[in-house]
């Protein structure tokens, strides 16, 4: 029977039907807006997720010695004050927090619960940063999504594979498995004075819009900074030879640890991609934005501070350029050459 039905459909309708089927399939699997993604979102909005997020936030407040109350919880979790009130009731009844006037603080149980959640979150952020190609601005949200569903065992296995990281990609320490966390170090960039120098140890990843702008400016944990001036509350500082100006709001997102033994690097680094064919230069370092396997591979091939590099040949289509490092020619794409810093010493550039 079906045979004849199929054969009697005119080709025009078949084409339309074909497109319809393809369309439906695409809609189901479309990232972010498709059916599967929507179902995922609905699953996210349950109570446990909010509870864990609230604990995490409360812990962060205490760690940074800030005050927090119902309003700030509501703001941080992006829920109504009513909902936040209910949430606090639950936390109280579960014995995870205590309240003193408006001030909320964690009990010991609450603290260890939140440390567990934070450990999972930061390990996954580390994983996303080092072992996947997820965009930097998405790490936090992606980890937020994952952290409520993975088991502890899976996370520990992951941590073991990665060599038990102790810092997340924003420079924050990851609590140990027993719940240890070092004392907070450093001070906020907006509290620094002219002439002070240090190293960025943390860039806050919330709110996301500010974080994205800081990342876009090329700031990263581990970067040396030197404050050259404070003007109307604006912080002016040198970072990797570039001058940056940040408003207090932005500067408050950055934590800096004072460095005493190192004089700040004032020379501006150039990028490997700017090296012309036949020129030679000394490698100054690899940007921390080059991570994981890519970074390892470059270092393996001899791209380390101090070694000499020369641009030897362009590929027929122009992009990967062959650079000679430690006696080997390696092809490096422009995308990566942009992440490698060099010192061009004019006496050295002759070939």
């Amino acid at each position: 029977m079906i045979k004849f039905i199929i054969l009697s459909i005119p080709p025009g309708s078949m084409i339309v039907a074909g497109f319809a089927v393809l369309g439906i399939i695409f809609w189901i699997f479309w990232p972010k807006r498709g059916l599967l993604a929507l179902l995922q979102k609905i699953k996210m909005n349950n109570e446990r997720v909010q509870l864990e997020d609230a604990l995490k936030y409360l812990f962060d407040c205490e760690y940074n010695s800030n005050m927090c109350n119902m309003n700030s919880i509501a703001g941080n979790l992006n829920i109504s004050d009513d909902k936040a009130g209910q949430l606090i009731e639950r936390l109280l009844s579960m014995g995870l927090i205590t309240m003193d006037n408006q001030n909320i603080s964690l009990t010991d149980t609450g603290k260890s619960y939140s440390l567990r959640v934070i450990r999972v979150h930061r390990i996954w952020e580390r994983y996303l940063a080092d072992e996947t190609s997820i965009a930097q601005a998405d790490w936090h949200n992606e980890a937020d999504r994952i952290e409520h569903f993975v088991t502890r065992e899976d996370t520990e296995k992951l941590a073991a594979q990665m060599g038990n990281p102790v810092f997340d990609p924003h420079g924050d320490p990851i609590p140990s498995i027993d719940g240890d966390l070092p004392e907070p170090k450093g001070k906020l960039l907006n509290h620094m004075k002219e002439g002070e120098s240090g190293q960025i140890i943390h860039i806050e990843d919330e709110p996301r819009s500010i974080y994205e702008q800081l990342v876009a400016q090329g700031l990263y944990p581990g970067m040396p900074v030197f404050v050259t001036g404070v003007d109307n509350g604006k912080i002016i500082f040198a970072a990797n030879g570039d001058e940056c100006i940040l408003t207090p709001l932005f500067a408050a997102q950055i934590t800096v640890e004072a460095l005493s033994d190192k004089t700040p690097v004032s020379a501006k680094h150039e990028l490997l991609s700017s090296l012309e064919l036949g020129e030679r230069a000394e490698i100054a370092g690899i940007s921390p934005n080059c991570r994981g396997q890519q970074r390892r591979r470059l270092m393996d091939l001899g791209v380390v501070p101090g070694s000499m590099v020369s641009a030897e040949m362009k590929s027929a289509s122009g992009d990967p350029v062959g650079y000679r490092v430690m006696g080997t020619t390696i092809g490096i794409r422009k995308q990566q050459a942009d992440l490698i810093f060099i010192h061009k010493n004019n006496d050295d550039t002759k070939k």
Partner: protein, 477 residues
Amino acid sequence: MNKNELQERNEILSEANKARWDLGVNFHDTVIEAIYEDASRIARKTVKQQGEKAAYSLDLKIDKIVTSRWLGFPLMFLMLAVVFWLTVAGANYPSGLLASFLIDYMHPILKQAAASINMPWWLDGVLIDGAYLAMAWVIAVMLPPMAIFFPLFTLLEDLGYLPRVAFNMDSMFRRAGAHGKQALTMSMGFGCNAAGVIAARVIDSPRERLIAIITNNFSLCNGRWPTQILIATIFIGSLVPAGIAGFVSAGAVVGIAILGIFFSLVVSWGLSKSVLKGEASAFSLELPPYRPPRILQTIYTSLIDRTVFVLWRAIVFAIPAGVVIWLVANIHIADLSLAEHFIQWSGPFALVFGLNGVILLAYIIAIPANEIVIPTVLMLTVLSTGTHGMGEGTGVIFELDSVGDTANILHAGGWTLLTGINLMLFSLLHNPCSTTIYTIYKETRSVKWTMVSTFLPIVLGFIVTFFTTQIWYLWFS
């Protein structure tokens, strides 16, 4: 005591953890830098570079030519064309020789021997017409081209030329989210997809390696070229005057191969933007110095490592397939063989895709090797149309020396120009052969990626043939 020890050990560990917080985020880098500092100090003490680097400057001269803007690509295409020409031209004669020995000469002898010991007809059919013939076919068609292609390819590899090809091609593959070395796995795939999948080992970044493995099937392999050429000659060559028929049908086949490259790039791009988005990606490409290849050793190792290895896997899969092919043609249920049942049942569905039941069945039972698709198609067509006097008997796969006779059988089977075009498309876009599927599993160790590589091309194949057919109907109705 023991408890004490355990505690002591855990103290060491938590001590280490605390120290790691103190050492900061750049710790790993400083460890490596310290080692390099020592290495560089020792190297400065012990290594002396005298005068001009003679050999390297020769390397650089060669590199300037093979990677130059104007000569780079033509040289590469010339080199590949020569390799393919040598393979096709050189394999023709030994292939014919092997076929006439294994099929025309050995097959009747085996049949006679079976008859003389009174082997039951069904056992004789399963073993000799089924298993033996499928194996013989695979060896005859597969061995000679691979025995020429792989050593040639390996010679280019040992010489150091292939990394330069990857270097030149990288920008195209980068745009598709893939690695320049995929150019090599793709070319290797023109010889054999299973070998192409194995060759993807040289790509050390997980994401790009998976892309190369999954898309390798879009390289029209050695086993599919004869199908393409035969069908193009019969259905497309016959459209134009005899004088240019050869040229036009060759053009059609090359067009299909280029379409394959196109699909390979588009699918690479799609994969890197969707399912493989989260896989780690890293690019590194070392350009080793040129080295004179050791020809004899290269030929030996490439024959052992690649040709025999792949051939063996193909034979292992071809033998049971031969048995299945014979059985479906010879097991009867209510007067019709299993094959005929399937062909009649699936015919209408196949028509929607401009194919027919014979083609669908042939691609299902000839999954071990694309080489036996055409013989199976011929056998099934003869079987289902009830043509007599062609071929060697029920369920015995065969091929004809004359293209004209083959065309007659296919026309009798109801084939049209549209069927021909769709078969060519479907031959490019269908699941990899079982040897390749098995190899993909061995290489990725993942059922998920094996499934994706298996079903992605065939879904694409059905989509493409569906729209081709329906638009064709719309146009000509």
